[in-house]
Amino acid sequence: MTFAPVLHAEWLKIRTLRSLPGALLALFAVTTAFSALAGADGGSDPEFDPLFTALSGILPGQIAAISFGATAVSSEYHGGAFRLTLAATPRRGRWFAAKMTAIAVPALLVGLVTAVAALAAGRAGPGSAVDGLTVGEQLRGVLGCGIYLMLITLFAAGLTALLRSGVATLSVLIPFILVVSFVIGDAAGTVADFLPDKAGQIALHQTYDGTLGPWSGLTVTALWTAAALLAGGWSVRRRDA
């Protein structure tokens, strides 16, 4: 069995479950809308960062990305679905790789499009702080946003494969993103910089002064994601269906 048919099947699964394209649409809509709102009243904060303000919709928007990753995997653990999946694709490693590819590619593409739209919305707003950004900074923001959203989506997907439950994943990640990271996140220059979400978000800032830069920050997030994927892949390969 080659990889392409398995990937095709996994892609069809994502397309044919209404909630999954819905989550990607929500990712786009929420991120763009909140970015536009933030751009409209930004500028007074002394720590104002025009790039991050323009992309700040990603903070609520990433919850849609997490839901997408978690739901795409947890739909396999409804009823006897996983048994049927593995009966159709007994090479579990190959199946897991196909699943993650089918999740990663749309997340990356939607992330990129969302970032472009958020920047465009920022430019349209009255603040127009975005005008002060160089093309390079904007490009980094767009790429960083796409890669960050893909990584955080895969992080949720890997965790769901490990826990075999979307509810469990969401109830770990969403409080983490909303509370833990938010509360201790202000303690910049500490271990908080190395949290999966904080590290990757450095790429969305115009200026940064911590240990990590934009690309090293994304690398740290990628390491978290790799760990979640390894754990999830291990669970898929080792455990009885």
Partner: protein
């Protein structure tokens, strides 16, 4: 053609042995009924054959190959394990399209099996609107999708209406008639008796029987004969002379236990007993099954229960 070979298969969940040193072969061209009470290990065995669970020891192969080594396995083996396998928010057609895509099965085949299982008119409805019987049909459609040589159905009649049960019976007979290997698990005896040629019986994860169905019944249940007559005295006298006992029932008919209809007919005829009715009462699979489980009573009944009343627990 491909057979299912189970060799010294054992599966432990913690300290519990769900499948205990099981060895049997399911051959093509006939329907093999897979019998046993709930929890006997039927579903576990099927999962082991499909490589979904790892055996503690032993092997399960299809035509000599482990399931996991099959290229595009749905083209070789079709299985219904669980009517809940289809996601409720997907349409039946999409559910089958996904399976077809992963095994490079032409999508025209999706519409064929939907037609065959009577779901064509509801194929674009979401599965969560389906009744249990419709989900069961969808599960069977998925099993047939790759036109496989081996078909395994776990409790296919679950939730089906009487028409559906007849349909499953005809389907399994037809598949076996086409030379396929057909394994159908059930805990319904009359149901199994209506389609099986061969039986594999499990109890507590162990193999209790692996025989043709007719032999299984004949070896365990001696047939009896049903008679109605206008001259009860002549009948009982004639039977007594040949060492047969007859038991009269409330509605007036008699039963001669442990007798063959040919013998009883000849006896009655020679004694000029006027007969209104003479019929063989063949042993049923249910009787044979309970006889088997009674002999395995130490496994099937609690010590406090009388041993002659196995409930098939």
């Amino acid at each position: 053609m491909t057979s299912i070979e189970v060799q010294a298969l054992t599966k432990e969940f913690g300290s519990r042995r769900a499948v205990d040193d099981l060895t049997f072969t399911v051959l093509p061209g006939r329907v093999t009924g897979f019998l046993g009470p709930n929890g006997a290990g039927k579903s576990t065995t099927m999962r082991l054959v499909l490589g979904l669970d790892r055996p503690t020891s032993g092997t399960a192969t299809l035509g000599g190959r482990p399931y996991a080594t099959l290229r595009e396995p749905l083209r070789h083996v079709g299985a219904l394990l669980d009517a809940g396998a289809a996601h409720g928010s997907r349409t039946a057609r999409d559910h089958l399209r996904v399976l077809a895509a992963g095994n490079r099965i032409p999508s025209a085949r999706v519409d064929e099996v939907l037609e065959e299982t009577g779901l064509a008119s509801v194929a674009r409805r979401r599965v969560k609107t389906y009744s249990l019987g419709m989900r069961q049909r969808l599960g069977i459609a998925a099993a047939l999708l790759g036109d496989p040589e081996v078909v395994m159905l776990d409790e296919p009649s679950n939730g089906l209406d009487p028409e559906g049960i007849v349909w499953v019976r005809d389907l399994t007979r037809r598949l076996a008639g086409e030379g396929r290997t057909v394994l159908v698990s059930s805990h319904l005896m009359n149901e199994t008796a209506s389609f099986a040629d061969h039986l594999v019986v499990l109890g507590r994860g162990r193999l209790l029987a692996d025989t043709p169905m007719r032999e299984f019944i004949d070896a365990r249940v001696r047939p009896s004969v049903r008679i109605r007559t206008t001259d009860a005295v002549a009948l009982t006298t004639a039977l007594a002379r040949h060492g047969h006992d007859a038991v009269q029932h409330d509605d007036g008919h008699w039963t001669v236990h442990h007798a063959r209809v040919d013998d009883i007919g000849r006896i009655a005829s020679e004694a000029h007993v006027p007969l209104l009715e003479l019929a063989a009462e063949e042993g049923t699979l249910e009787q044979a099954y309970f006889d088997l489980t009674a002999t395995e009573a130490e496994f099937t009944t609690r010590p406090t229960q009388p041993q002659h009343q196995p409930q098939g627990a």
